[in-house]
Amino acid sequence: MNTQKPETKDEVVILFAGDSGDGIQLTGGQFTETVEIFGNDISTFPNFPAEIRAPAGTLSGVSGFQLKFGSIEVFTAGDQYDVLVVMNAAALKVNLQNLKKGGIIIANTSGFDSKNLRNAKYIDGENPLTNQSLDGYELHSIDITKLTREALKDSGLSVKEIDRSKNMFVLGFIYWMFNQSVDNTVKNITEKFKNKPDLAKSNISVLKAGYNFGDTSETFSSRFKVKPAKLPKGKYRNISGNQAISLGLVAAANKSNLELFYGSYPITPASDILHELSRYKNLGVKTFQAEDEIAAIAATIGASFGGSLAATASSGPGIALKGEALGLSVILEIPLVIVNVQRGGPSTGLPTKTEQADLWQALYGRNGEAPIPVLAAATPKDCFDMAYEACRIAVEHMTPVFLLSDGYIANGAEPWAFPKSSDLKPIEPITNVEGMTTEEGQLLPYKRNKDLVRPWIVPGQKGFEHRIGGLEKEADTGNVSYDPLNHQNMTKTREEKVLKIAEDIPEQQIESGPDSGEIVVVGWGSTYGAIETAVRELNEEGKPVSHIHLKYIFPFPKNLEQLLNGFDKVIIPEMNRGQLSRYMKQELEINIIPHSKMMGLPYHVEEIKQLIENELSHAKA
């Protein structure tokens, strides 16, 4: 019996890595759930290989699941790992560079046989587990395969089936290491294999074997305990960005009393929204898997005309195809939500990596003057709020609305204090058609309310028959018009309608730091976590800097300019070549210091800190 006292830590970063076939994502997901229920705050970052299933054991086939969990608020999945779990040599080779100095390695020795070493391109079959090259780390080699087989030798299962459960061994062992209980996972396994009690039994016994192995072996020098985080009281669940977007759409439809119609064509990393929503048929959600992205948005335009809350999502290349139809939705003035879960570009680019380089596309990627509001979600759980907001603005302002997310927050997960439906802001479709006819009885489908919003007159209403279309239309009547002054006015009106949305969104907040001062870091989208952590840490170090995070990019919150004027320098780090920076430059008179990271990876906290400190020291110099 190992009686070591667990070491208490504020937060721990752990990476599970192995072949896609090793059940890495499942292991990570289970562990996440367990520590969440225990009360830790978490942030996760699954990292898939580009291929569906690259050959076993190769470098390109390594799948990873990174998790940071802590007793303090956690905003990112962490820059460097405390613990690295590797199922084979390739997983070690790829990930070692980000293991903290002196960090822990847990390695499955049977993943380091000569074939594995060759696949991982270790020269001449040199085995890192035995050649002292890992001396700087705390290495724990375990023959997980063998132990698993042994645990199940009497189970009657085939070797192939047995090997498939070796991830349970790892999971059990890690539970032990972090002082967590196996109970939640036991419960999940039992449920999952309801109809296959044999499989349930064997998986549970391997899980426990792993836990027990930790408990009984004597190899380990440290055992961690991470205390529950001081999250505000409340009910929590785990949620990823794509799930949150899906729920946001469903909630908005529900609160506005509309049917949700979702038209989409699969594309990484947006497809999960389609998968998620297709499971909500029992809430009346209609999902339409279209033949391409153009058909997807066209179908949603039809559905919107038909009175549904209509949404579509894609990623960069698919959004590029929607440009023409977006213009139609602008001139029709109908509600529509377009989600772009961004990935690395240009073209097919880096389809499984994250990036923020489609901001310009959202702002400008159409012919003619076709203004569309642009929102951006900051974290996985924020995706819920922003999807809900996108719907609210679309419906109440009769306009298409862009929502930007990206691969990092779409796949990443965090605990979410989910709202009660009754607490959600009401959404009120503009369906009042009173006063929409002239005294002579002519219908005026483009007559506007004080916000310049026209009514949504859904087919089926007797006496309100009318035609809409992509040609310029006469004010009020909506009839086709080639009149020069009318075109000028309509162009302005469509723009002003969108600008007026600034009256209907929250004022810009400062996330952290003082209200004014020398430096503010302005971010948008998934850089939230890295910036917030960096700014908080610097504030704790007594370096006053602030963090402003934009969720409403077009139009800007009314008070933004004034807020920014309180700072001497505005640092804008983006995972692109400076798109927000340039856009802000054209809108506001401020001193911008752009920073660009184009690596298909999120910012590290350290990078942001460095960036800020550079500017601080410049100031001193």
Binding site: F261, A325, S421, V458, G460, H466, V480
Partner: protein
């Protein structure tokens, strides 16, 4: 959101009620006028309240059509009317949805959405105005123009082999495939009524004369001197007859359609091919009538319903699936928000 209901009835309406106050802006003499008129004429008979009727079009001369129908309507973008109509009908199956499209709109830029609509069998009625030219953009050849067509973009004649729209539709799993012509108003009206009756996507290819850029393209089938010899009208259960006084018929020699004269002895109506719109193979032979090259004159061009088959519509299956899900696993929004695995702090 207010939903349409189909309980109303339109029997008190007249064709005039379907006209709008917008000036009709096609070229004088354009075949589009007749088509507009025939649709307006049959509308009151269809038993659909005017407010539940929606016309969706793409871009082209034909596509201006919705402006002239006093129903709900959308003049959308080039090629996408079929996709827009798909979403409209799937989201709101109570509506009676019509698509108006040209040969360019539906077969060039919109080809993909058309074939996907057909395979999904969404219950919309597609009126494909085929004038074998791009009218609105002033006279380029289209995917239905015959090879060798001299047009604005092909001064030396086009080198493209054209589509056979009805053959394409059959290949795309269409459940209602038909052809009509602007200059035969009665037959056009009948075909529209039949198409509307069909539950599922119905396609009518309508030969339409563009008198400005492709005049007389279908003259053979509308000119009173030639039409009897060159057009054949299909009727279910009836033998294939045509010619002056119906003096000729079509017989199948194996898979090969042959013209027989009923005036010659030995030939009787009993030997003729009897039209069966449920037979897809025979429908294919019919669609290919203009491919056969006979020594003794070409085959006449068929008009009417080539093929009709009942198959579940997309929106019905979707609705059934949703209804079942709602009744078998009902769930409230709050349940969804909390998920099955939440905890308290």
């Amino acid at each position: 959101m207010q939903k349409p209901n189909n309980n109303g009835n339109s029997s008190t309406l007249t064709p005039k009620d379907y006209a709008t106050d917008q000036e009709v802006r096609w070229c004088p003499g354009c075949g589009d006028y007749s088509i507009l008129k025939q649709v307006q004429t049959v509308m009151p008979q269809l038993g659909v309240p005017k407010e539940n009727t929606v016309f969706v079009s793409g871009i082209g001369c034909a596509a201006r059509y919705p402006y002239y129908m006093n129903t709900y309507g959308m003049h959308s973008i080039h090629g996408r009317a079929t996709a827009i109509a798909s979403g409209l009908k799937a989201s709101n199956p109570e509506l009676d949805v019509w698509v108006i499209t040209g040969d360019g709109d539906s077969l060039a830029i919109g080809g993909n959405h058309l074939i996907h609509l057909l395979r999904r069998n969404i219950d919309v009625n597609v009126l494909l105005f085929n004038n074998e030219i791009y009218g609105l953009t002033k006279g380029q050849y289209s995917p239905t123009s015959p090879q060798g067509k001299v047009s604005k973009s092909t001064p030396l004649g086009s080198v493209d082999h054209p589509f056979n729209p009805l053959a394409l539709a059959l290949g795309a799993e269409a459940t209602f495939v038909s052809r009509a012509i602007d200059r035969n108003p009665k037959h056009l009206r009948d075909t529209i009524v039949a198409a509307h009756k069909h539950k599922g996507t119905s396609l009518i290819e309508i030969y339409q004369n563009c008198n400005v850029f492709n005049d007389l393209a279908f003259d053979l089938y509308s000119n009173k001197d030639s039409k009897e010899e060159n057009a054949i009208y299909l009727e279910a259960g009836k033998p294939l007859l045509f010619g002056k006084d119906q003096n000729k018929g079509i017989k199948l020699d194996g898979f090969k359609p042959v013209i027989v004269s009923l005036e010659e002895s030995g030939n009787s109506t009993d030997d003729l091919w009897v039209h069966d719109p449920e037979d897809k193979i025979k429908a294919s032979i019919l669609t290919n009538f203009f491919d056969y090259d006979f020594n003794k004159g070409d085959l006449p061009r068929p008009f009417g319903v080539f093929y009709e088959k009942q198959r579940d519509t997309y929106e019905d299956l979707m609705k059934t699936q949703i209804d079942n899900a709602v009744s078998s696993a009902p769930i409230e929004l709050d349940e969804l928000l909390s998920g099955s695995n939440h905890w308290e702090i």
